[in-house]
Amino acid sequence: MAGWRTHTGTALLLPLDNVDTDQLIPARFMSTPRSEGYGKYLLHDLRHDEEGVQNPDFPLNTCPDASILVAGRNFGSGSSREAAVYALVDAGIRAVIAPSFGDIFASNAVNNGLLPARVDEDATSTLHAALANNPSEVTIDLDTGTVTLGQHTLAFALQNNWRTKLINGWDDIDLTLQHADAIRSFRDSRHSTDGWAWPATPN
């Protein structure tokens, strides 16, 4: 996974609260191998009617080139399905800006290079007002933790460890394997003092 420090792209307003992971990708698409691409499933049932025809007024359909979504509170709440993040990433989305995120979604996002940028109420209002009629170019800077739209430069919150990870594009498994000795010694010590923590053999 490639790291990144700044991104400039088209920001699109998705003025909805509680965009849960079932809406981001309905469960019926989740048996698809990732190699087939998940972008077409993003918000599928909001973007299409029951016959599969695109709803021309839905924000993502009016602006398919958007790479930044500005949404309402509690974005990505619900299930742990990482497919919700795959759908966003495969549709070209690099960042979601919202007042709050589901905890599991946010950590899945960072694991796939997608920024969950948390902004306060004032910044939310500013962004929603600025994007209400048209998508607009926005620049995100991970080092300074800011979003710039025209003359507005607004701060976003992001856990420090997540910032580092997004910038470096780290693969956690490689990092963790550097601690193999510490892991082994923890395991051995737990096994000798808390042997009950290992599954018993069923009778």
């Binding site: 309905p26 905890d103 042997g195």
Partner: protein, 468 residues
């Protein structure tokens, strides 16, 4: 003297291998549960040519795609492929699998505890947000995404930033017809679906102490619907009695050592919580959702709220929810006709849930069709031994095999577009039970009552002169 510690502090430090400068901990994972949906993670593992680090601590479960009917008559190709993929991955990596033929098959969050795989003091991960269920035993249990599943498979560890500790205290006696489900819907309606984001919730108080393990699991299960990745309850004699003799639970001297260790697993008297919430059990009524988010819930004797009266910018979402649900504000929620009912899921598919529902249905007929899917094959067998299956069947409901079923809409059990379902599940999200499906969350007893009346109704009058 050391500072007083919360249950979260004790569980966290007991698993912390190292703490990185940026505040992230590397934690040891005692149990890792995988299901058909874990195929992305296994694919990541193959891409790295990696092996599962601790196959003995990893358990596979067929539940998300498990057909609940006609298992022997062939299944849809995509469902069969998902189940075969898990079977192949389990074989390749030497992982014990609870497959469709296993006598202990069932929903991962039902069978973990049932098999004694879930124990106090363990760190338990599963690629499913309702992993918080296992916290009912005093375990550190949380749902993870596919990248994290691949990480746990490869290393038996997980990087995690410690959440803040939050305490929800519930004291007093629950009224008749009021259950753990109602406690959960009540606090989520009060605090909102984001109310506990970033927190681990510890439930405490006399009401919690008096809950059975089944009730505690329901409560911890729903923590994620209030935004908390972790829910937990300090273990006590109820916990120990539930676990003793379970197949994978400690035996002999290990059991005695375990009990000694488990008795320490409680928050110290003066421990400080980042957030503290108190609820009076007497104020909790049978509760039902009216919208498309679990926070959009009211007591069954209340009216559907007017979106304009809602604060915190929740009006627009409420209006959209009412439109989707086909409901009118100001009308009582009771009396809303339902097309079908569902009893089951990792939230409310345990034996106590089936007993509560059957107590309402006994000798009565359902006015609408519905499915009852026990949480596991063992729950099913127990229910049949108690004759509960006859009560459901005689009432006109379908008694089917165990799986995630109509909760998640992956195995073919779906609610049709525009149809309204009274459901004992955990998410009333738009489209969760099927495209255009209208879901009302409530307790199993309330679902049974809705079946009897053909509409959302207060279960309490139906319980008069019967044992609940």
């Amino acid at each position: 003297m050391t500072a007083p510690r919360t249950l979260l502090d004790k569980l966290w430090s007991g698993h912390e291998i190292l703490l990185r400068e940026d505040g992230t901990s590397l934690l040891w994972v005692d149990r890792h549960l995988v299901h058909e949906g874990s195929h992305h993670a296994f694919a990541k593992l193959s891409a790295r040519n990696a092996k599962v680090a601790e196959p003995d601590l990893t358990f596979g479960v067929v539940d998300h795609y498990a057909p609940t009917r006609n298992r022997d008559k062939g299944m849809a190709p995509d469902i069969a492929r998902m189940i075969q993929t898990l079977t192949r991955n389990a074989e390749t990596h030497g992982i014990r699998l609870f497959d469709l033929k296993h006598p202990g098959q069932g929903i991962v969050h039902v069978i973990g505890p049932e098999q004694g795989l879930t124990l106090p003091g363990l760190l338990i991960n599963c690629g499913d947000s309702h992993t918080s269920t296992h916290g009912a035993f005093g375990a550190l249990a949380f749902g993870i995404g596919a990248t994290e599943v691949a990480h746990v498979l490869s290393t038996q560890t997980i990087w995690q930033k410690k959440p803040d500790a939050m305490r929800i205290t519930v004291n007093g006696d629950l009224g008749p017809g009021v259950s753990a489900k109602d406690i959960a819907l009540n606090w989520i309606a009060r605090l909102g679906t984001g109310g506990a984001q970033g927190h681990a919730v510890e439930y405490t108080g006399s009401t919690i102490r008096n809950l059975s393990m089944e009730g505690r699991m329901t409560l911890c299960n729903l923590s994620i619907e209030g935004g908390a990745r972790f829910g937990m309850i300090a273990p006590d004699d109820t916990t120990f009695a539930y676990l003793k003799g379970r197949p994978f639970a400690p035996k002999g001297a290990d059991w005695d050592a375990a009990i000694e260790a488990w008795k320490e697993l409680k928050s110290d008297a003066d421990a400080v919580f980042h957030r503290d919430v108190s609820i009076d059990a007497a104020e909790i009524s049978p509760t039902v959702t009216w919208g498309t988010s679990p926070e959009q819930a009211v007591p069954v004797d209340a009216t559907i709220p007017d979106p304009a009266s809602l604060s915190n910018g929740k009006s627009a979402a409420a209006e959209a929810a009412l439109d989707y649900m086909g409901l009118t504000s100001g009308k009582p929620i009771a009396g809303t006709p339902v097309d079908q009912v569902f009893i089951g899921s990792c939230t409310n598919g345990r034996i106590e849930d089936l007993r509560a529902a059957s107590a309402v249905l006994k000798g009565r007929k359902a006015k609408v069709p519905g499915i009852v899917s026990p949480g596991s094959a063992l729950v099913k067998a127990q229910a049949e031994q108690e004759g509960l299956d006859r009560i459901f069947i005689d009432a006109g409901l379908e008694w089917v095999a165990s799986g995630c079923s109509m909760c998640v809409g992956m195995n073919g059990d779906l609610v049709e577009s525009g149809k309204r379902c009274a459901s004992s599940t955990n998410r009333n999200f738009r489209g969760r039970q099927g495209r255009g499906a209208r879901t009302h969350l409530m307790s199993p007893a309330m679902v049974a009552a809705a079946a009897v009346q053909g509409e959302i109704t207060d279960v309490r009058p139906l319980l008069i002169d019967r044992a609940a």
